[in-house]
């Protein structure tokens, strides 16, 4: 027996399957019927085959999720010592603050020994950290504080505001 999920007037045979299902030996997804739920005996074989597969997929997804979460946390880490967390935006920017000025932030930038440093003029420098993240030191920000910004490949971003 089967329980029709949806039927729109298609011909149904004595077992409850639409006629085409009876002919082809399985649920028929075309026409006016979008399928049926087979009875328990036929589900047993399906469960026997699919359960380990689904468990395996779920475990793999879990491992990937954990890996991505760890990666995200790492990308979100602030490599500058002595900062204080301020807030995290909904857009995943991690805002931190540190007491200091433009000289302090330049000292912190240099202490991280970024590679491929490029001077953009006006006190703005860009480099690459060992872990591949981009680091930008700048004397300006929208609130006036000198800021170091660290960008990962994802949308995660860290900003350290230097406040007096």
């Amino acid at each position: 027996m089967s329980t029709p999920i949806h039927g729109g007037g298609g011909r149904v045979d004595q077992d409850g399957y639409p006629a085409a299902e009876a002919q082809y030996g399985g649920p028929y997804l075309g026409g006016s019927s979008i399928g049926s739920v087979p009875s328990a005996p036929s589900m047993g074989l399906v469960n026997h085959v699919t359960s380990p597969l689904l468990t395996s997929i779920a475990l793999s997804a879990g491992v990937w999720f954990d890996f991505l979460e760890q990666l995200s946390q790492k990308q979100d880490e602030c490599p500058i010592p002595g900062t204080t967390p301020e807030r995290r935006t909904k857009g995943n920017t991690n805002i931190e603050s540190k007491q200091g000025d433009f000289d302090t932030e330049n000292g912190d930038f240099d202490a991280l020994s970024p590679g491929d440093v490029s001077d953009k003029g006006g006190g703005v420098r860009v480099g690459t950290l060992d872990d591949g993240r981009i680091i930008i030191v700048r004397p300006v920000s929208s609130d006036g504080s000198p800021t170091i910004e660290i960008q990962s490949g994802s949308r995660t971003r860290v900003k350290v505001r230097y406040v007096k």
């Binding site: 920017t93 805002i95 006006g122 930008i136 700048r138 920000s141 929208s142 971003r157």
Partner: protein, 124 residues
């Protein structure tokens, strides 16, 4: 020092955040206090241009402001207005356009409009 920018509303308390709604041509910009309560609302009955960017990508503007800061500034002569004039092939000439610049939270919100906005500011 650039005098082409004027402060309309001073800086909000830190840390603030922004909320922008575009609804069928009408734009509402909110500035929110640390407790997420709206302390500033500015409604534009119509806009010619709307842009939102992270403040870190607006370093030329921040340099150009030369230390001038506020939750809302305005200008009648800036790079964005010139870009907009070029982009519209100067078909808006003769219309007085104003560039409003919100600096709230981590974003800079640019609005170019020909109309006066409606302000609603909650005193701190």
């Amino acid at each position: 020092m650039s005098n082409k920018y004027v402060v309309v509303i001073g800086p909000l308390l830190r840390p603030s955040s922004s909320n922008v709604v575009f609804d069928d041509g009408v734009v509402l910009v909110q500035g929110r206090a640390p407790d997420d309560v709206a302390v500033l609302e500015v409604e534009f009955p119509s806009v010619e241009f709307l842009g939102i960017s992270d403040e870190g990508s607006r370093l030329r503007l921040l340099n150009d402001l030369d230390g001038l800061r506020g939750a809302l500034l305005k200008s009648r002569d800036g790079d964005l207005l010139r870009y907009f004039a070029d982009e519209s092939l100067h078909t808006r000439e003769g219309i007085e356009l104003t560039h409003y610049i919100f600096m709230i939270g981590e974003e800079i919100i640019d609005v170019i409009t020909r109309e006066e906005p409606v302000f609603n500011v909650t005193p701190p």
